[in-house]
């Protein structure tokens, strides 16, 4: 056993990392639904889930159980193989894309091995290209689901989504080219490091400032790629009932659901990495006191949770909330007490906060915006985003060329 | 009811009489409402005239309905309610139809809006409108028997409809 472990350590570590990431992503997905429902509910002056567990915190669990145990009918006349393949494909591709995201620059030293945060090795040369390759395949899940259901609403949903995804992929890819030109690499780690050339500038060194046009195009196209409001036409429930997943129930539906939320996370990761400096702190490197920001957020939050737990109505809530609060506050305390840990946690902390902000924006849009019409969506993609992103590429390359010719000393 | 309704009744009746003396069979007044009884052959022409005439300007067909006065004959009383939006006046055109030949010219060529109203009357009273582009049942299923708003329609409906129980059981069990 130990011999196997020592000879195949890399393999074992990778498998463990995959299992861990899968667990984290699925849990985050589940709580993302809770977060979305809660935030949208508060925007709409209602409570959202609040029955299952304190503050409805166990609602995702209940939903999961429901998805697992619901009857799973297969409609007559479906193309069985493709019908079963589609959700698997959607989920598998969505989860694979997250494997390519690096979550921090520094390895943890455990059992004499450097363990990096993230599954793919940090030096994947075609990192961003590989990601696009995987997301490009993602359209099959939706299109095939629509086709194989042998029903008209899903077919229309599938057609819409394939057209939409092809169109927006162009803008998505073109809008990133500016960033790639600035970084001179496809590698996600190098893209982040390219934004850290001027550590004293902090937030102003990020790509989002010179690439504001690219960021706009990228974010809009990415929202369209993930089929979220206001681009949720493939599943527009008021027009196409539920679009491509009309005929799916139970766990197969859950797979599409998880796939959608996972791609939301992936897109948020990409936004933060490409345009918002990834794991870089928004403050200039000289401001070392900002390193205590994680603790400064976690400890008060944990204490608030404990306080909130004690005044909660149910016994269950009084047990769970203080427990969770203690853990959160304890984490904050650990960061303060162990400077090593605190230094290590900086990068993931900033990356995760940025991802969180983007997820919030997703939810916010859902609470605010109406839905586009199909032809408007197409016109928006082809007539606005694509030309804009091409202009962005041209301008960026000219600026870089000019700098290379006259600026470089 | 800003002005006395009888004045309006006179205007309408006079105007119609001067156009075609046969058009007005009778002018009725009740609770300030004017009813012009029109022979059924002249119904469409009269309606067209009401719409076209510069004095009348009844450009809006608001409602069409039917009353079945069953034992009496002719039993069907067909009422078209017209409104003149510019003149702010209403008038009711009425035609009597007998029970054994309930056919009348459709008003769809005059007001496309009469389409569903007449379909509804056809559906519920069985009055046939010649010249109607799409005379099908509208509220009841296509295979419904009888016309339920007729006074001689049994309250329970016709009882000899085929029993669909067997069929239902077959389709609902998996």
């Amino acid at each position: 056993m130990t011999a196997f472990l020592s000879t195949n350590a890399e393999l074992v570590i990778t498998v463990v990392k995959i299992a861990l990431l899968l667990f984290i992503v699925l849990t985050v997905n589940a709580y993302l639904t809770w977060f979305e429902r809660k935030v949208v509910a508060h925007m709409q002056s209602r409570w959202g889930p609040h029955r299952v567990g304190p503050h409805g915190l166990l609602q995702p669990l209940a939903d999961g159980v429901k998805f697992l145990f619901k009857e799973d009918p297969t409609p007559a006349g479906v193309d069985k193989f493709v019908y079963y393949l589609a959700p698997l494909l959607a989920l598998a591709l969505a989860l694979t894309s997250i494997a390519l995201i690096p979550f921090g620059p520094d390895p943890i030293r455990l059992f004499n091995h450097d363990i990096y945060l993230g599954i793919a090795p940090l030096d994947v040369n075609i990192g961003i290209l590989a990601l696009f390759a995987i997301t490009a395949m993602g359209v099959y899940g939706v299109a095939l689901a629509g086709w194989s259901s042998n029903s008209k609403y899903p077919l229309l949903g599938g057609l819409r989504s394939s057209a939409q995804m092809i169109s927006y992929e162009l803008a998505l890819t073109m809008s990133v080219v500016g960033v790639l030109l600035m970084a001179g690499s496809f590698n996600l780690k190098q893209i982040i490091e390219a934004q850290a050339h001027h550590p004293e500038r902090g937030i102003f060194g990020w790509n989002v400032w010179p690439q504001i046009l690219g960021f706009f195009c990228f974010f809009v196209a990415a929202v369209a790629e993930t089929n979220r409001v206001p681009f949720d036409l493939p599943e527009a429930e008021s027009e196409l009932v539920a679009g491509f997943h009309t005929e799916y129930a139970s766990f197969k539906f859950a797979m599409f659901f998880i796939a959608e939320y996972t791609s939301m996370i992936t897109v948020s990761c990409l936004c933060s990495i490409l345009f918002f400096g990834g794991w870089l702190s928004p403050f200039p490197a000289s401001w070392t006191f900002t390193h205590y920001l994680p603790s400064a957020i976690l400890i008060p939050f944990g204490l608030w949770v404990i306080w909130d737990g004690f005044r909660y109505e149910t016994i269950f809530g009084r047990l769970i909330l203080p427990g969770a609060g203690t853990v959160i506050a304890g984490l904050g305390a650990v960061f303060v007490l162990f400077p090593n840990v605190n230094e290590f946690i900086q990068a993931p902390f900033w990356l995760l906060s940025k991802i969180f902000v983007f997820l919030f924006v997703y939810v916010w849009m859902r609470g605010t915006l109406p839905r586009f019409r199909y032809d408007q969506l197409m016109a928006f993609g082809w007539k606005l985003l694509l030309p804009l992103s091409i202009v962005n590429v041209i301008v960026t390359s000219f600026v870089i060329l000019a700098r290379m010719t006259w600026g470089a000393k | 009811m800003t002005e006395p309704a009888s004045k309006n009744a006179n205007v309408v009746a006079e105007c119609l009489r001067s156009w075609n003396p046969k058009a007005v069979a009778e002018v009725l007044e009740f609770r300030g409402e004017t009813t012009i009884v029109v022979p059924r052959e002249l119904l469409r022409a009269t309606a067209e005239h009401c719409r076209q005439d510069a004095k009348l300007q009844y450009n809006f067909l608001t409602d069409a309905t039917c009353v079945d006065r069953y034992p009496a004959e002719p039993r069907f009383e067909l009422n078209y309610h017209l409104v003149s939006i510019p003149r702010r006046e209403k008038v009711r055109l009425r035609a009597w139809l007998s029970g054994n030949d309930p056919v009348v010219d459709s008003l769809v060529p005059v007001w496309p809006g009469a389409n569903w109203l007449e379909r509804e009357i056809f559906d519920l009273f069985g009055i046939r409108f010649s010249g109607h582009p799409d005379l099908r049942r509208i509220l009841l299923p296509e295979d419904w028997e009888g016309h339920p708003l007729r006074r001689d329609y049994p309250v329970e409906g016709y009882r000899d409809v085929p029993n669909t129980g067997e069929l239902f059981r077959k389709s609902s069990t998996p």
């Binding site: 193989f81 393949l85 075609i126 390759a133 490009a136 359209v139 299109a143 077919l155 057209a163 | -």
Partner: protein, 167 residues
Amino acid sequence: MTAALVVFFVLAALAVIGAVSLILQKHPIHSALSLIVVMVALAGLYLLLGAEFVAAVQIIVYGGAIMVLFVFVIMLLNAGVEEHTSISKMAGAPGLLLVVALAGFVAATIAKSTESVQAAPQTGEIASTLGISNMIFKDFVYPFELTSFLILVAVLGATVLAQREKS
């Protein structure tokens, strides 16, 4: 047998199975799916050959665009199961013959020129993406411009074709 060889055989088998399945499947969607399998397997082989960029482009363009277009058209036209007449079944026989002849020819050629092709395989020392871009934009810049022109013409052509006649 090295790990690379194992991976090669797995991917090669996938590619061949996909290609055979493309022929055997009756429904165009299934054929398209088989072709996607072939393409993904080939992308894997390109990775094995050290051509990272080509592998990514293969998936993005072939898998993510061209094949989506195929699937889209199949869905749009609601294409049904393929029909075969007796003549078309007969066409299989000469086709098979042709394939055997072709395979024999290629095998013979390879057998003859083993030495020349089996040059020492070089690993991807040249940073392939950078190298490719250098080649495209320096050595092959005219063909590159020509292909972009080709794309433009294709786009125009597709637009003209797709346009409805004004009724």
